[in-house]
């Protein structure tokens, strides 16, 4: 019997440790990319148990009085790790948590920052998006991430932005700008005027293929208008933690333009949505990571959107 048990253990040990053993988060790296501006680079990957949902870039800006956090990560645990790393850089109180949109990799860490005097800020559509999707996100990612999602809750904003608002961190203004439906229905950017650092959220993807969960045409339009923002560097939602502005927009605009053109051609030819999803945007494949995971989905939703163009 003992030998049998030993055999079972030997066979199961690798899966046992990955499936049931305690998992530890990789150390949370937070870098000062400009004076008083901090950024963390997410892993270019899908959210899973091993990475605690840590796939999005996160940031923080410290003023004379207090700190604004921009996005909080993909689980309560990641949010806590972010907070601990931030505390090692600055002891100033956190006065704002800015969510760039409703997707789980950006908001699931919110719970770690809840406290007296912390204002959660987001796009005017963010409360609705979180209320309609939050429960689904928690259930869907519980299946994928298991106990790495323990304690994660949905925290809605108390300050909502319909157009543009500036918040003051003490000698330092952060301009929050709400956008039309683009990457999602609740995209918000945050600009640190002092250093010209723009936090673009998922309105900017680098290396990670852009994800369209709002409107393809809206995304193209907003990507064009973003270029007018006076900044010197950008923290994209995914990809390298910092990139030169506005050059960083080029790859994304090329992808969205190609996908739109391919879909319009497919619709004109009378192709079905299924055929179009197989071919549209294919030329862009070598330029992007996670292309296989998102391009056909972008193409499917984009097809359904563009079909309504014209008479």
């Amino acid at each position: 019997m003992l030998r049998r048990i030993a055999h079972i253990v030997a066979v199961l040990a690798p899966s046992f440790f990955s499936a049931f053993g305690a998992i530890a988060q990789a150390p949370f790296a937070l870098k000062e990319i400009a004076s008083g501006v901090y950024a963390h680079q997410g892993e270019t990957s899908l959210m899973n148990r091993e990475n605690f949902g840590g796939i999005a870039n996160l940031g923080a800006v410290a003023g004379d009085d207090c700190v604004a956090v921009i996005d909080t990560g993909g689980s309560l645990e990641q949010g806590k790790a972010f907070l601990a790393a931030l505390r090692a850089k600055t002891q100033k109180p956190i006065c704002y948590v800015i969510n760039t949109h409703a997707h789980p990799d950006h908001v699931f860490g919110n719970g770690a920052f809840v406290g007296a005097g912390v204002v959660f800020a987001g796009h005017k559509n963010l409360p609705r998006a979180l209320s309609l999707r939050g429960e689904h996100y928690l259930a869907a990612f519980r299946q994928i991430m298991g106990d790495a999602l323990d304690g994660t809750t949905i925290v809605a904003p108390t300050l909502t932005i319909a157009d543009s608002t500036a918040i003051d961190l003490g000698g330092r203004r952060i301009v929050l700008q709400a956008w039309r439906t683009a990457h999602s229905e609740a995209d918000l950017t945050a600009l640190d005027e002092k250093t010209g650092t723009l936090f673009a959220g998922d309105l900017l993807f680098l290396q990670h293929v852009p994800v369209v969960d709002g409107s393809l045409l809206g995304f193209l339009d907003v990507a064009d208008r973003l270029a007018d923002i006076k900044a010197t560097r950008v923290v994209p939602g995914h990809g390298p933690m910092v990139a030169p502005w506005p050059k960083a927009l080029e790859d994304e605009r090329a992808y969205l333009t190609r996908l739109t053109a391919d879909l319009r051609a497919a619709i004109r030819k009378g192709e079905s949505v299924k055929e179009a999803a197989r071919t549209a945007g294919e030329e862009e494949r070598p330029k992007w990571k996670l292309f296989e995971d998102y391009n056909a989905r972008n193409a499917t939703a984009g097809f359904a959107e563009l079909e309504w163009e014209g008479p």
């Binding site: 199961l12 309609l132 689904h136 996100y137 079905s272 949505v273 989905r297 499917t300 939703a301 359904a304």
Partner: protein, 262 residues
Amino acid sequence: MSKKMRAAALGAFFLAASAAFAETAAPDPWPGLVTDIFQGRAIAPADGTVSLDAPKRAEDAAIVPMSMRFPDPGKVKGATLVIDQNPMPMAASFTFGEKAGVDFIETRVRVNSYTNVHAVAETRDGKLHAEATFVKASGGCSAPAGKDPDEATANLGKMKYREFKSAVAGKREAQIMIRHPNNSGLQMDQITRAYTPAHYIDAVEVWQGDDMIFKMEGGISLSEDPNFRFTYAPNAAKTIRVLAHDNQGGAYKAEWPIADAS
């Protein structure tokens, strides 16, 4: 290895085993659906009466194209598309006009989880034939909620018609698109704990002149902006006409000239 670790490993083994068991023993909803939707009638294999084309993996779980083909359309009275694991499994039930000659119809559905999809055709002699295929929903970020609720409300009931060159001589191919949020009623507002009321297209009729091409009864499994692409045998009518109805009493009408009608 310590006794503790051994015990833990055994525990893990049983957990893993029971999880595997739970997966294989998940009840198949299909027998119950046969009772509910088809009154327990016998359902024969497709045998060339109907074929179902569904993606193996749903790219966007909110927009999953499903097409049914009927090699001998004259024999087919209607067809029902069932997404077994969806909360409201009957996605669409089509009834075809007697001489409509519909040998292909495609629509788009929502898929909630890994599921079988059944296409069940009823022949004019009253027999049922089915083909099933398994679809993996991509899950993840693709929530069942609409991508832009404001736009969906603003355009409610707007329709669009397109024609295509049919691959089959003597047939026409057309597409009808209806702007409608098709709210499922299953999305709970986490703050108010209230559900967004169900609001969906429950009936569509498509006519060429005075002859019906098809009518459809549908539910919340149809995607936002219900979309139908189909072939039909022309009857020399000059226009194509659509009547749509939703569960809140909304009625929507549109009519278009058929471009190459003689």
